[in-house]
Symmetry: C2
Subunit: 134 residues, 2 copies
Amino acid sequence: MKLSQATDYAFRAILYLARQGVGEKVDAQTISEAEVIPKRFLLKIFRKLVQAGVVESYRGKYGGYALAVDPAKITLKDIVEIVEGKITVNRCLIDPDECNKRATNRCKIHNALAEIQQEVNQKLAEYNFAQFLD
Amino acid sequence: MKLSQATDYAFRAILYLARQGVGEKVDAQTISEAEVIPKRFLLKIFRKLVQAGVVESYRGKYGGYALAVDPAKITLKDIVEIVEGKITVNRCLIDPDECNKRATNRCKIHNALAEIQQEVNQKLAEYNFAQFLD
DNA sequence: TTTAAAGTCTACTAAAACAGTATACAAACA
DNA sequence: TGTTTGTATACTGTTTTAGTAGACTTTAAA
């Protein structure tokens, strides 16, 4: 029941770019040093963020990354889902075949977990990166 | 960001015992079959529940397990914590040394995650096993 | 008082996930 | 045209998860 290290790194990388402003390019090396994130690992995380359209990348000399979206429009939930996929508190909640009792909808515990999962998603969606800028 | 299979099994085992009533003994084999849980694995989970005092065990022939506590007093949070320990949404929230920026208390993101963590704990604590008895 | 059926304790193992690295490649600017 | 940047793919070591195994202990009934 925890977020991965990669997600935590992504939070910090996005916040770093948000502080520079939308469209302001910074190279991975600089962010890696400032935020104490292994560079190759950070590059890997950035590829997901680029693919998702949250960040844009610039290749070649003087390349780097810049925020593509207003920080106020980027939530913690967005980043979590980009990096590690949708949150699933219990495996039964994704795929009924994962419930070895095949009782997903009849099981009150699973209904409770579904509610908790929704609550977590909602909470994560309440925080956007504009709020984290000092 | 999900609960382990062991926790899910524990939920179902506790619910099974709750349906029998406090003090009503059932052997692991029966529960294993009814809830489709590997028996040896279930035995291992039960040891934690026994140690925590939620369940009492009876050894020897005609032994088994029985709920030791009123189901209304057992919450989802209790079981999660017994089986997999306290929930920590982000590793920084347990140990500041885990934050490679050493910024746990100054970091607004981590403060947000701390709030979400508390929310999850509170939600889990709102559900008790009496509520799940039809 | 023996024996069979229960749980206990410790250790082991296979598979998946996590965290990070490496190597080769492509683009861009100077 | 060469150096600096990101891209793509694949590899690797460690930890966690999920489950299994074997030897042992307890208990009740025959």
